[in-house]
Symmetry: C2
């Protein structure tokens, strides 16, 4: 498989998982967290698929296309280890969907990050919330890992639902 | 359409056009020119689909993934206005397929570049050669514009065949 094939598969899997998660939480109130804005493509997809939701975005810095930058009051800039607890204080337990795509090429760092994220996210999530993460997360109390939607290769996204 | 949808469509169209062009020139001898290496994805796709072909690559500088960097003797680094004529001197009329993806956000610059490319490429192309370009090119003597392959949106690639 060429790198062109590979990126197409990766982006299709990303879209399939997001679309699946959006359908899973449809009709349940709650806000959305986008961890990692990057170029802004998935943020754009989330806001297009869920026009009525408040979407809060976290990243170290803005590198996104100008059309994909969230409003200031939905944006948390800085280290996720500081911004996520700060958001928890402001938002409380009000999140129904999380999309996290913060992984780097450093596997040890990715594991530590995913473990920290799970602990920080747990008190923010409503019952029945869905978490999609590009890294495997340690299960928190009441969480269940879900299988990938049909057609999505395994271990591309890790999907969880709170109890 | 979200930017995630849009990039998936763009990459699928790119792959469809390349695969179509590869099939068009199958069985005809000649080398391949990749104008614009970028991240190396399309180069990787070209070499995977045409393992027996010599593929010459042109770019200002190397920004590709390390696994997608061509061998030194297939690489022309510098301004395309200098490297392409230099390659013409070395390769003569021996090219059967060109993939060009050099466009920027500057429309006037893109038009001038595409016009220059067409003139520089013309003496390098074998009869029946195929040119795929992300910009519209002025037709050279004997060239015909070809329709996009099925399923590819119009004006995403411009396709030409020499007489």
């Amino acid at each position: 498989m060429s790198r062109l094939d590979s990126v197409i598969r990766r982006l299709q899997a990303q879209r399939a998982c997001i679309d699946w998660a959006v359908a899973e939480v449809e009709g349940r109130p709650g806000c959305v967290l986008e961890l990692g804005l990057g170029n802004g493509r998935t943020y754009d997809h989330l806001r297009e698929r869920m026009p009525g939701r408040d979407i809060y975005v976290f990243d170290r810095q803005i590198k996104a296309h100008p059309a994909c930058i969230p409003p200031d009051d939905r944006l948390f800039l800085g280290d996720i280890g500081e911004t996520l607890p700060s958001a928890a204080g402001r938002l409380g337990r009000s999140t129904i969907l999380v999309h996290s795509d913060l992984g780097t090429g450093d596997e040890a760092r990715n594991r530590a990050l995913a473990a920290g994220l799970a602990v920080m996210l747990a008190p923010m999530l409503l019952p029945g919330a869905v978490v999609m993460c590009d890294q495997e997360m340690p299960l928190q109390p009441g969480w269940a890992r879900l299988p990938e939607p049909k057609g999505v290769p395994p271990d591309r996204y890790y999907l969880y639902r709170t109890g």
